[in-house]
């Protein structure tokens, strides 16, 4: 099992579009991937878009990602990279008229 803490950095938080990206990526792995908020302990399955949305994670929210399964190393690295570094560009596009 792998555990890492991460920070939601993008301005718009884990909105529908960002959550969709996370779900798509997570579903490429066999491992179970769980996101949990550090402040209130609310947990969500990273393969379920509604679970992610239900975290209601805004910019600055700290999360713990847990991965367990045969591809857990790759899974945790890629999902964290996505959340911490790749969501911001989407925000820019989202703000376009």
């Amino acid at each position: 099992m792998q555990r890492r803490t991460l920070l939601v950095k993008n301005r718009l938080g884990l909105h529908a579009r960002a959550a969709a990206k996370i779900v798509r990526l997570s579903n490429q792995f066999k491992s179970e991937l769980i996101l949990q908020r550090c402040d209130n302990g609310r947990r969500g399955d990273a393969k379920s878009i509604l679970s992610i949305l239900a975290l209601a994670a805004t910019q600055g929210t700290a999360l713990v990602l847990t991965a367990s399964g045969e591809d857990e190393d790759l899974a945790i690295r890629q999902v964290i990279h996505l959340i911490e570094h790749q969501l911001e560009e989407d925000d820019e596009r989202e703000r376009e008229p």
């Binding site: 718009l12 909105h15 579009r17 959550a19 878009i49 509604l50 679970s51 949305l53 239900a54 209601a56």
Partner: protein
Amino acid sequence: MKENHEAPRRLRGLGVSPGIGIGTIVHLSSRGPHVFRMRIAPHQVEEELRRLAMAFDKARQQLAQMKAKLEQALGRDHAYILDAHLLMLEDQQLIEDITSIIRTQQVNAEWAIKVVMDRILAIYADVKDDYLRERGSDIEDVAHRLITTLQGDHRHRWLLPETILATEQMLPSMMIELDPDAVVGLVARTGGWTSHAAIIARGLGIPAVVGIEGLHEEMAAGMLAIVDGHAGELILNPTEDLIAQYRERQAESERLWCAVRDRVRLPTVTRDGTPITLRANIELPSEVDAIEQYGAQGVGLFRTQYLFLSSHTMPPSEHVQFATYRRLAEACGQDGVTIRTLDWAESESAADDAEPETNPALGLRAIRYSLQAPELFRIQLRAILRAAFYGRIRVVLPLVSSVTEIRRARELLQAVARELDEEDLPHQADIPVGVMIEVPAAVFIADALAAEADFFSLGTNDLIQYLLAVDRDDSRVAHLYRPLHPAVLCAVKKTVEAAAAAHIPVEVCGEMAAEPLHALALIGLGVRRLSMAPKAIPLMKDVIRSVDLALLEDAVERALKLVTAEDVERLLQEEWADVLSERYLTNYTTAEGG
């Protein structure tokens, strides 16, 4: 129907639509798409899960198609949000949660979806971030899509025959979705006599009782109940004896009513020979059949807001409006139809999520709204002028409070007529344009309005509300709502006189026109045209055929000298007791039982 051994319970309310309905209670939620909580039997669970799976499949297909279309039109980027929606529909967690509720609580799929989605939405309501909080609407959107898919295009088919609908508040949009053949009664915790839904209930002839305190605490879905719209009573868990009693009353009022209805072909004229025109108020185009059935001389008021509320597109397209108005005009023949332009408040159009107005009765509504939304108004006027080519149509402007409003409406009508000319579309440019007299200001400037309008339509419901500053839906002041208040009589008199001086007709289309005592007072004041729910016409005709105009005028002249509503009511009731007790009062009191 559920067996029950509990004692009957009687709950008091305000009867807003007469008649007796006996059936099973179905609870209707007032917000969003209307979701019923229905208990299902254990053996129906698997069937319900199949419905759920099919709804998910169908919703996914719809979204995939929409997404393909969007991608083609706008490129991949913009279709992205639909991706999120599609993912929600593939969300195993969601499907599991809904399935579990259907299994454990034994409820219908619609309700289970609502429960799960509401849970998630509740989290969103607390989110501090505005942007993210608004994203809750994506979830709502998906929930609505699933629910509407489940309900199909014919949601009301869900209702079993002999249903009594119980709601927090009856909404007009609810009424449109309902199958009037299945619904035998309506009950609500709030609401009042003048609410639009109550008006529709009367129009459809569905008994209704509103303002029932404790309704939600006492009732349960699936309970057997009796709605008594005469007495303003809801009886829960009635005994067999009680049901038999009420069935007998139902049959009795049916017999009385049939006797009156047989006379619908006779002319409406007082005993001393003054003809009175009786027209129909209708809200749903499907009510057109009632015109012929109840012997109405055309339609005195077609309320277009229901056409708007029930439309799949907002606003309804010019073609849909044109087709509806044309059908109406053709059905009315020489008697014609009066179409009232959109009469709603902005808050109504924006539905549930609009900011509540502090004082909607005095806000942006009716003609004010139409003049501020010229595109919406233009489409309606185009449809009206085009339909007028095929029949006699009059147009009436609601809530007029100044001469400027009718002038601006006429300018728009002229502009629309020029457009239609250029487009070579068949239309009738010159149609009568009337104003509703329903604001005190309109009464005071009735002379000026009469100079510019082709006719007056007295909307007594709003006029009384504004004149007496009474909201009839507020139970603490409802008793102050007196149609025979001296101020109301005075306003009607002034309106009638202004119209007579300008040689234009006055028609009354409020509730007063349908109430025999009040209608006789109106006739005594000089009104010759009344418009009411079609069902009220046969009885009214019967009453009018039994009175002498001279006697009405004499009684009203004396009533005008009285200074309190109570004295006016007493005088007129005594004067016309013989006419009223024999026909109308008998009809009602018999139905109420002794």
